[in-house]
């Protein structure tokens, strides 16, 4: 098998990112959308780490740590929003959450 280079990682990242984007676009359930978002975060992180290792520069890893921290914050607020939506609408179907009233 041929050795694995930077492009392999970047390609995998691209695929993962597009899968995530597809999920965000097609899923109607709020939690499923959040999950797809996490996929996109991971794709980005994968690229960052691959760059950090192949173009020897540790900053990519540091950035990835920051991304994970931000993802955690995003997930917390996202889940809180989902719960709040569920409490008010009794479902979490994003297509039907179209009023501006809480």
């Amino acid at each position: 098998m041929s050795p694995i280079g930077l492009n392999h990682f970047l390609g995998l990242g691209a695929v993962l990112f597009c899968l995530g984007a597809y999920g965000v676009l097609t899923r109607r359930n709020a939690i499923a959308v959040l999950m797809s978002l996490e996929l996109m975060f991971n794709a980005v992180n994968l690229n960052l780490v691959a760059f950090a290792r192949f173009l020897p520069n540790l900053d990519g890893v540091v950035l990835a740590v920051f991304v994970i921290a931000v993802a955690a914050a995003e997930a917390a607020v996202g889940v809180a929003l989902v719960l709040s939506i569920y409490r008010n609408f009794r479902h979490i179907d994003l297509d039907q959450v179209d009023t501006m009233k809480g």
Partner: protein
């Protein structure tokens, strides 16, 4: 080189990542999507491991699997009646979305393939096994210590900002998810029985 396990590992992990990611976006039961997400995250953690960034792999598992996914699973449990089958989670325009995503993928892959990178030699990235010297660790493993110094030296401000961000997110999550106070206060202890 007698046998190089690195490509095998990469392709296996890549298959795991994409397969699980597909399951995440197509699964009918949300909980299964959550479990598939765990698979993806472990796959990505494995890739970090392959790149010898073990610290990040650990953080990935700790934060993503241990906190974020658990949080999402909790949300699933709280918002769905147990075992609701055949969740309607797909929107009405999957083909448009698929076309858009494929186009995006084409653009990205095109960009990746057309670029040339000044990459370091593979021996600095992966561990190797050779017939002459057996197991060789990667030449430049980013140590936890180096990463720590990096966080504290040029990235001090972002580091602190992230901690503020997390604090704000925590408070915001609490404020949003809290139950609105009900008009009648829950009774404390014994309430008087009026016969």
């Amino acid at each position: 080189m007698i046998f190089d396990p690195n490509p095998v590992a990469f392709w296996l992990l890549a298959a795991m990542v994409t397969g699980c990611a597909l399951a995440v976006i197509r699964a009918h039961k949300l909980y299964h999507a959550g479990l598939a997400l765990v698979g993806t995250l472990f796959g990505v953690a494995g890739l970090y491991g392959l790149l010898q960034v073990w610290f990040l792999a650990g953080v990935q598992v700790l934060v993503y699997v241990g906190a974020i996914v658990i949080l999402l699973l909790f949300a699933i449990m709280l918002t769905h009646h147990m075992m609701t089958p055949n969740l309607k989670t797909l929107s009405t325009q999957p083909w448009t979305a698929a076309a858009m995503c494929l186009m995006l993928l084409a653009v990205l892959l095109g960009g990746i393939l057309s670029s040339t990178w000044q990459t370091a030699p593979d021996t600095t990235v992966y561990p190797t096994w050779t017939s002459q010297s057996g197991f060789q660790v990667a030449e430049a493993i980013p140590s936890v210590k180096a990463l720590g110094f990096r966080l504290l030296d040029p990235f001090t401000l972002p580091f602190e900002m992230v901690s503020v961000l997390i604090l704000v997110a925590m408070i915001a999550a609490l404020a949003v998810a809290r139950k609105p106070p009900t008009p009648e206060d829950p009774a404390e202890g014994c309430e008087e029985v009026v016969p």
